[in-house]
């Protein structure tokens, strides 16, 4: 059984000019221990999906439809206090910029202890021992001496390790990592990705990895969901989505990655830009930019349907394969 | 579309029209200013005309109380002066002092800021140090002490005649540093621009560059601050006058009126002090509300 099931999720923002639908019928699932990548351009709704799952949508944004089912229990209709008890304890989160995600005035050890004691019954001594253990586990050198050091005393990469420890310390079963490596030096990105993979495997944690970096996805994930304009365009095992994409948008996305194996004359790019949320075209959201557009694409919205190797929301996905 | 129409269609006016608080405050400010400016023509009595005063009219309560006299709607003081007319003339004096003081402040602040920002180096360092030291002290305290020292320096014979100038000077001198600081900041930015470089290269003199090229470009922000400071200057003047070191009884401002009325609180003639006090409070509150709205309207992120 899936650990997380997102079914037909819609998120809306009321504004002065009317309601903006930022997520429109998003459905996917994550199995225990699985790493799911979510890719797309900025504004595609990747981060919003994560925020909706942990119940931290910025007002006035709210879930306007669909269900979020975690471990057999619906999350989208829980009260604030019930949802708070789930955050950190059952679903953790890792944010983008380690320089700003830690409270600058509280030592890292204290932040760890505070988080663990909020969710578990632990004596101060046990909590401190565990805090040191966690810092060691995420690779902070001399953890026992530095447990009460302040965030500014660590480098950016080290701080992201602390953030990871904080996200995992109450042993959640799912972690939502929102662009965890974007703000880091390229040389450190790989270390952080390796660390997350190792910890996920050791603790059996599932990860929803939100990023716009296909390289990271290819290296880390079991499956990947490609988002476009608040909808899922294609979803499937990483290998298949990367090697044989069935949605023209995914194809374009893959074409924009430089590859060492395949010799291409030049990188392709997708013409045009993603539509703004108040101007999403009728039918398939991608139709104005699509090279394979047919009349039906402009009238009717495609749903996710199985293809040979993936699931894609494109009327022409299967004819192509056939 | 002409400039006026563009202005009326702007977001600024849109936000003004949607904000009843801003509109009411603006209305109150306009009303108070009009009443003050037109006082000599529209006030029911002239409180300075000693011949028109009648002691039989003294200490009359406002019209809604039993002994009230409709020709003195807000009552009279111990000399038989009409409180309403006193407020109108008093507001006029208060506004006059505030505007002159801020004008003086602006002149000093802009000059110092331009020179510090344009010349730079040790001149800048010394001037800004002075600004720092003065900013350590609250403006009202500076105004009070300057007022005291200037009075001590002046010969007693000149004091009466120069009292208005003294208080304008005292309030003005207490508020120039923040203008200097703002102007210096923008001057330093403008100085680096190409058009200033070009003007220097073709040999235009420094004072002329400052006056004709830099000044017009740094004036905007400092004028906004000056407008907001006008309300503070009104309060400064009222406070000094209340303390008895401001304007003489022959030129009663709102603060002076409140101070005189204060003596009658215990004998029950509350109107002599409360009406001027309420006028002052409503006027300053309206200016503050307008300022709040202005800040939000110009910077939507802060909402």
């Amino acid at each position: 059984m899936a650990l997380l099931d997102v079914i037909d999720l819609c998120v809306e923002f009321p504004t002065r000019r009317g309601i903006l639908r930022a997520l429109d019928g998003v459905s996917f699932s994550i199995d225990p221990g699985e790493i799911l990548g979510v890719v797309g351009e900025s504004g595609a709704g990747k981060s919003l999906t994560g925020a909706a799952i942990i119940g931290l949508l910025e007002p006035p944004g709210h879930v306007a439809g669909g269900q979020i089912v975690f471990d057999g229990k619906r999350l989208d209709n829980l009260s604030q206090e019930e949802m708070r008890a789930i955050r950190g304890r059952h679903i953790g989160a890792i944010f983008q910029d380690p320089l700003t995600t830690l409270d600058p005035l509280m030592s890292v050890g204290k932040q760890l202890i505070e988080t663990m004691q909020t969710h578990m019954k632990l004596s101060d001594r046990d909590a401190k021992a565990r805090a040191v253990q966690w810092l060691e586990e995420v690779g902070i050198p001399a953890a026992s001496e530095r447990v009460f050091a302040y965030p500014h005393q660590f480098s950016g990469g080290m701080r992201q390790r602390v953030v990871i420890a904080l996200a995992l310390c109450a042993e959640p079963r799912l972690v939502i990592a929102d662009e965890p490596t974007t703000a880091l030096d390229v040389s450190i990105q790989a270390q952080i990705i390796t660390l997350m993979k190792r910890l996920a495997a050791d603790h059996g944690t599932s990860i929803m990895l939100v990023t716009h970096d296909m390289g990271v996805i290819a290296e880390t994930c079991d499956r990947v969901a490609v988002m476009y304009a608040g909808r899922i365009a294609e979803i499937g095992p990483v290998e298949n989505v990367v090697r044989s994409p069935h949605h023209p948008y995914t194809e374009g996305l893959m074409g924009s990655i430089p590859s060492l194996e395949a010799r291409v004359e030049r990188l392709r790019q997708i013409d045009g830009a993603m539509p703004r949320l108040n101007a999403i075209p009728k039918g398939c959201a991608f139709n104005p930019r699509c090279g394979k557009v047919i009349e039906r694409c402009r009238e009717e919205r495609p749903v996710l349907l199985p293809t040979a190797t993936t699931m894609a929301a494109c009327f022409r996905a299967n004819e192509e394969a056939a | 579309m002409n400039a006026l129409q563009r202005f009326l269609d702007s977001d600024f006016i849109y936000s003004f029209k949607r904000n009843p608080v801003a509109m009411v405050s603006f209305g109150v400010v306009v009303l108070v200013v009009l009443a003050a400016v037109l006082a000599p023509w529209i006030a029911p009595h002239n409180p300075f005309d000693l011949a028109s005063l009648n002691l039989l009219d003294s200490l009359k309560p406002p019209f809604f109380q039993t002994d009230g006299d409709p020709s003195f709607p807000l009552g009279t003081d111990d000399q038989g002066r009409d409180v309403l007319s006193g407020i109108m003339y008093g507001t006029r004096i208060s506004l006059e002092v505030a505007i002159l003081a801020i004008g003086f402040s602006l002149t000093v602040g802009i000059s110092v800021g331009l020179i510090a920002g344009y010349v730079g180096g040790s001149v800048d360092a010394v001037l800004m140090r002075i600004v720092d030291v003065q900013l350590t002290f609250p403006a009202i305290l500076v105004a009070l002490l300057v007022d005291g020292v200037v009075r001590a320096v002046l010969p007693p014979s000149a004091q009466e005649a120069l009292q208005l100038d003294v208080i304008v000077f005292a309030i003005g001198i207490s508020r120039w540093p923040q203008f200097a600081r703002t102007v210096r900041g923008s001057t330093m930015i403008e100085r680096g621009r190409d058009y200033v470089m070009a003007a220097r290269v073709i040999g235009i003199s420094s004072p002329r560059i400052m006056a004709t090229h830099i000044l017009p470009n740094v004036l905007g922000p400092v004028l906004v601050i000056a407008t907001l400071n006008l309300g503070l200057a009104v309060l400064d003047e009222a406070t000094l006058s209340f303390l008895g070191v401001g304007l003489p009884p022959t030129e009663p401002s709102l603060g002076t009126l409140i101070r005189f009325g204060n003596d009658f609180l215990f004998s029950g003639e509350w109107w002599i002090t409360i009406f001027p006090g309420a006028t002052l409070a409503v006027m300053v509150l309206s200016i503050n509300l307008l300022g709040d709205w202005l800040r939000d309207a110009l910077n939507p992120r802060l909402r």
């Binding site: 005035l105 969710h119 | 609250p138 029950g268």
Partner: protein
Amino acid sequence: MIAFIIARLLQAIPVLLVVGFISFAMFQFVGDPLVALLGQNFTAEEADAMRHNLGMDQPFLVQYVNFLGRVLHGDFGISYRLAKPVGELLAERLPATAELALCAAILSLLVGVPLGVLTGIKRNALISRVMMMLSLVGVSLPTFLIGVLLILLFAVQLGVLPSYGRGDVVHFAHWSTGLLTGTGRVALILPAVTLGLFQMTLILRLVRSEMLEVMRSDHIKFARARGLTPRAINFHHALSNTLVPVITIVGLQLGMLIAFSIVTETVFQWPGMGLLLVQSIGVADIPVMSAYLLLIAVVFVTINLVVDLLYFAVDPRLRGGGK
């Protein structure tokens, strides 16, 4: 830490020297000290002798240094008006002002900070909107008007609180306190509320806007994502992060408190230094004015130093310690 304090003290010295110089210039050149000391009728010889005694025949800088020396010994000259040493006069009045300012400061902090936090957290609640409106009224009412209104209500209409003076005081060596007597405590209420109200509304507005700023920050979002309780988020994480800017402004506000104690003391005839100053300004009693200026400068420099030390206590980033 010690190096930091020393650096701060060194920065304060120029400020004190400049203020000392202004104070000296006032003392020496405004008004005529000879008239003050010798009366209106004196001979040229008497005047020369007095000039010599006062060191007024010496070079300017020597006079300035002498002045500073005297000031350090607590000698501020003789009040023209009261014919008593200014040092003594100020020492007599200091406790009254100190007690008033302290009570007002405590009042404004104890009410202003919690209300600021409350309106910051529940920014859209009705009570927050009402508080914000009221606070704007508070900021717009000049201190002296608040005093007058409070007197009218509590002293004149209700007759429950005294409207002037300090009540009975108890003396301890050089200090006099009104806090230990019933009349003293009652007499303190209206002046302290008058002085504290304006500061309270300013502090409330400031804490609120800092709170709103911090609540938007990433580390608060992360604290939420870790499932911390609202209590821990609001008080451990948000409030402590608003403290640094709040301390700065509160420090400045204490300076304002001293400035506005002048007004409050005048309204309530409170026998403190502010009332002394206003009375002295009225008759151009220069020695009192120059001494007051110096004293206030020392108080402000001290406040700034305390503010810096508090930063140290609150913000670990300032305490240093490398990576």
